[in-house]
Symmetry: C2
Subunit: 682 residues, 2 copies
């Protein structure tokens, strides 16, 4: 696909289809390196409704003439209040931004609806702008400009021929011509021709010679929660206040205020569906469960139903609806797990044997995600005999069914072991009806695959964050997330732990390590999450593994959420700081600056207008005090190195004045991080 | 354009055109980041006939199955001995190259013809490869494999159903089945199923499930001289042995042996056409020429003709032909200048007024390339009233006319001030008939424009080399030329000087500076060039400018090419070294290694097989001796840091043994560089 297409006006003049005539209709103006872009428009870049999209392109032509450019954009598939695609394109001017580099043009636009959008870049010869530049230069140089004045008059006359007779522009052009004729001398003519009003008027009537237009670049616009949200994960079955009793949806109600008070937005449940019996797992992933063992909720389906059903011990569908409503009253949205695998007891095996790959002995291979083995589940085969379209549609209907129940957020289990075309279709299909639906990819795999899932439509993704602990590791990883292609297609959700990941770092760190990881996650990314127990600093492992001992995946668990040593208050404060400081509501725009201690990560985030500037220093050492001298980014505020600025400790509210660029900090295992808002002194 | 298109076989199964059916035909296997590529196939990457093209792509699918991939390629427009496009595609296997990174596949192919080529990447599920991997793993782990053996038998049986009855493959498969049935035990069966022969046989019969095919990627293949050549520029009119007499083509014959002995391949002349009279330039770019002043040859056209004609004082067309033939006998190819501008006396102004942009007073604006002014020339207007297609075809015919005279190399004057679509069409048109024609872009302008000229078809380009003098400048620039997008589309020709550029560095450096710049150019790039006088260390400037005093652009010049202090012998040796050492025949693959002196540039080049490894150390200081310790790249040869290697001074032929990694060198203004071939000790 050519990035630069023929303009419509040029196509219309095409009467002789010889190669040279076709060549002459080619784009005289080159439009290259359009940003944001994912594989030259093959996939949509991501944006957030209400937040400006900065567009850049390298635009140039032969010769020295002045160019003009704009971005045009529209919603091609609106959300509920904007159901119809917008027929009319919006338009914003692009300007040549010399400090950014040669030939780089920039502009912004702000989509208001969610859903599919597109934008194109257009560039053309600025006819009068070119004339204006040359006249101005020659006039300044004192060169004779009699001929140029005649040409200026001709420019205005020809513009008058182009505009609608009697229009406002026609009147303005006629008035200008009259003024030019009545001018007493050259200098009055020059002043008229060089005036800002004349330039603006003439640019409005520009014939847009040599118009180049880029291909339409897709842009997927999400709601705010897609970019800025705090996730809390719990197993409803563990929420019973009575040890030993299976928890229910109704039990979860009591937790909602606490979760909301900690500042979370999303409450995520592992699968809530009926659990299989065959090869059910016992505690700690054993293969010999007792009769009362609940099994892994990821072994989905039994005689009570499959992915569309609710595990009876959790409650009825009415209970689920009541919980969704109650959560909403607490400003919490419920996210469900979409895990496509089936227990061997899933109804689909009998109803749709053609959706599975059977072995010569009449069995189905159980699931593996090496080195992990899942003896209690089997996978569907997306390309099996009867799978297309039956299985694909059935899975879509499962998701749509939960959307119809008011669930707009899905955490998708292991999407990288299902075909990319399936996800690309399913996500577009669901979002085509409701572009507020969010899909969160739980893929821990190779980098190209994780990026691809973002490209084909996943709203956000799990990350390698859990395994990045040292300063070089964290700096490199956060930098990668800020670079192409990830910054356009991949929104990282920094989970500090999951039922599958009991991070090695936390197993030995004690409470200070939990504070460190909470600070890194909340300050590092607009999206972060935790699995319950983190706030209690739970870390007992299956020895030598990243698994939790007595994992909730296989058994019920009762917790005292008010146990001493919990970090709930600190988490609440971190989430409060995130809400108060827009600079922290994204992983983008992070800058790592100098601190003279390799155990302290020091970075700065700010809003584009610098009205919100936050400095973050996090000790990576849970055992010892760490101190360091660091540089305040005074230059970013246009201040001298010796300037005074105001600082505020966002954890405590304490305020002070910093004198000069170099400052020091002292971090302790008790409070291993500092988060400071920086303001210019008045 | 999607990089991954549906395979034909998948398209044929498409009977129901519902979105889900279409989605299910989408590519299960992703093919990303194809190299070489210029803007996702919008433009052709460059290659040289007879030299391997390394192809890479990131290829992956969902799940853990084994993939297979290949590159298919063909010539779509052959040169003279291969006039017909090749109907049959060639094919080379791609292999997963883990050391290069996750999911990166690599292969090579070697085009033999010049002209337009294309390649596609294909990937599919390696059905038996997947089975083979799993069987091997389970067998090694001692897991029961009875079921796997049945599956293996089924794989072979199904392969037999796919191949032609009676074919060689059918016989082999039948034999394999018989061996499997006759096997005495499981371990014999395993050995048969895991054997290299079985794997190879089964991969030959693979059904290529889930075949993905990339878009066709264009590749433009040039002859060797496009990548490796030494250029010599002279004004024929200065070649008269009698001072004051206008030189002729016949005078040039006497210079041919000398130029060839210096090791040059291309002999390039500024324009040889009739020179205008109106506003003719006098010596040193004055506007008041004397009656005998010859004028600038860039003011093309007078009553004797235009771009198709020869300036009578140079000789007749027969003389030109004789010179082309004589040059060829000396292994020299003549390159002409294609400078589109016209003198005001060019016949086209009267014959084709509709090819020019006339001002209100009936004049044409003279040419400018700010800050330079060219009062003696006017430019055509490519989009003027009658310019399309008349002017475009006329210019094409000018080039074709010289091609018909045996000229296959054109240095194009200021291509960046002419429309990109014009060049893209003209170059494709000319090369469509003769893909050995070379176009050399003389554009000194902004980086994006220079790259664009390479993208649209220019074979090679002038560079910023002349203005890169310090070690950081040279390191950065040579590194950029080795990176995308330049490495795919832009072949740099390092001219050390031109009639327009008398480099500031050389104006003050004396002879050592000329040796330094000659070494940098000859060792830095496969393409380099010089304008006559360089070998005599000529550097007298128009004070304060990069112009030569008494420039040949405006007057005749007589030189004594044997004058003392000339560096002709050194240039000859440098060119000889380039011919002997393939590592030096490209700018690609340069590595900068450590030397503890910031005034010495030290780099290494080698052939991919490491059979030719050349170390280059160049002092950038023409005034003082410079010494430094530098590291031999022993690790590249797989040697320990204390190993012995053989060194050879390629300037002198002196040989020695280096002991260990750290060595030292001492460079003087008399011989400011060292060029050493490195060989493993026997």
């Amino acid at each position: 696909m050519s990035m630069v297409q023929r303009s419509t006006s040029q196509q219309n003049t095409d009467t002789q289809e010889t190669p040279v005539m076709q060549a002459a209709m080619g784009d005289r103006i080159a439009i290259e390196d359009i940003y944001p872009d994912v594989e030259q428009g093959r996939f949509a870049a991501k944006a957030i409704a209400g937040q400006p999209v900065t567009v850049t392109a390298v635009i140039f032509a032969d010769g020295h003439d002045v160019l003009a450019a704009r971005v045009r954009w529209r919603c091609t598939q609106g959300n509920a209040p904007h159901t119809a695609a917008e027929d009319d394109w919006h338009s914003e001017t692009l300007t040549l931004v010399r400090p950014l580099g040669n030939d780089l043009w920039e502009g912004t636009f702000t989509p208001t609806a969610t859903g599919a959008h597109e934008f194109v870049i257009e560039a053309w010869w600025d006819l009068y702008g070119t004339y204006h530049y040359e006249l101005s230069r020659k006039h300044t140089a004192g060169i004779s400009i009699a001929l140029e004045l005649r040409e200026g008059h001709d420019h205005v006359s020809r513009a008058l021929e182009r505009v609608a007779p009697g229009s406002e522009q026609a009147s303005a052009l006629e008035a200008l011509l009259a003024q030019l004729k009545g001018a007493v001398d050259e200098s009055e003519q020059v002043a008229l021709l060089l005036s800002r009003d004349t330039l603006s008027l003439m640019q409005q009537c520009d014939p847009q010679h040599h118009l180049s237009r880029s291909a339409a670049m897709p842009l997927e616009v999400d709601r705010e929660l897609a970019g800025f949200a705090s996730w809390y994960e719990l197993f409803p079955r563990s929420e019973s206040p009575e040890p030993g009793r299976h928890g229910t949806f109704n039990d979860v109600h009591a937790r909602l205020p606490m979760i909301r008070d900690m500042g979370f937005d999303v409450l995520y449940f592992p699968p809530i569906h009926p659990i299989g019996h065959t090869h059910r797992k016992g505690p700690n992933n054993t293969l010999t469960p007792g009769p009362d063992d609940p099994g892994s909720p990821y072994a989905i389906g039994n005689e009570d139903g499959g992915h569309e059903a609710i595990h009876p011990q959790l409650g009825a569908v009415e209970d689920f609806r009541a919980l969704v409503a109650a959560a909403r009253e607490h400003d919490l949205e419920i996210a469900l797990d979409f895990a496509i695998q089936c227990s061997p007891d899933h109804p689909w095996l009998a109803e749709h044997p053609g959706w599975f790959a059977w072995r010569p002995d009449g069995t189905i291979r159980y699931a593996e995600n090496p080195p992990k083995k899942y003896e209690d589940i089997v996978n569907v085969d997306f390309y099996a005999e009867d799978a297309i379209p039956g299985l694909w549609l059935a899975l879509r209907d499962v998701v749509q069914g939960w959307v119809d129940e008011g669930v707009k957020i899905f955490r998708v289990d292991n999407p990288h072991t299902k075909p990319f075309p399936f996800w690309e279709w399913l996500i577009a299909d669901i979002r085509g009806r409701d572009p507020d639906v969010i899909f969160f990819a739980e893929a821990f795999t190779r980098p190209a695959i994780m990026a691809r899932l973002g490209k084909i439509g996943f709203t956000m993704s799990y990350t390698y964050f859990t395994w990045r602990n040292t300063k070089p590791e964290l700096t490199e990883y956060l930098t990668q997330l800020n670079e192409s292609p990830l910054r356009e297609c991949y929104r990282p959700n920094f989970f500090v732990n999951t039922p599958d990941i009991n991070p090695t770092f936390l197993q030995g760190s004690g409470r200070p390590g939990f504070l460190i990881r909470a600070a890194l996650a909340t300050m590092g990314s607009g999206l972060w999450g935790m699995y319950s127990g983190f706030e209690l600093c739970e870390a007992a492992p299956v020895p030598g593994k990243e698994e939790y001992l007595d994992s909730e995946k296989y058994q019920l668990k009762t917790r005292d959420y008010f146990a001493p040593g919990n970090i709930s208050a600190e988490i609440a404060r971190l989430n409060w700081i995130r809400r108060q400081n827009p600079a922290l509501q994204t992983h983008l725009g992070i800058r790592f600056y100098t601190i003279d201690n390799d155990r302290i990560l020091y970075f700065v985030k700010s809003t584009p207008d610098m009205s919100n500037v936050v400095l973050v220093a996090i000790s990576l050492d849970p055992f010892h005090e760490q101190s360091g001298h660091f540089e305040l980014p005074l230059w970013e505020l246009g201040l001298e190195d010796h300037a005074d600025v105001h600082g505020e400790d966002l954890m405590t509210g304490h305020r002070w004045t910093w004198h000069g660029k170099w400052q020091s900090t002292h971090l302790t295992p008790q409070m291993p991080f500092g988060i400071w808002r920086l303001r210019p002194a008045q």
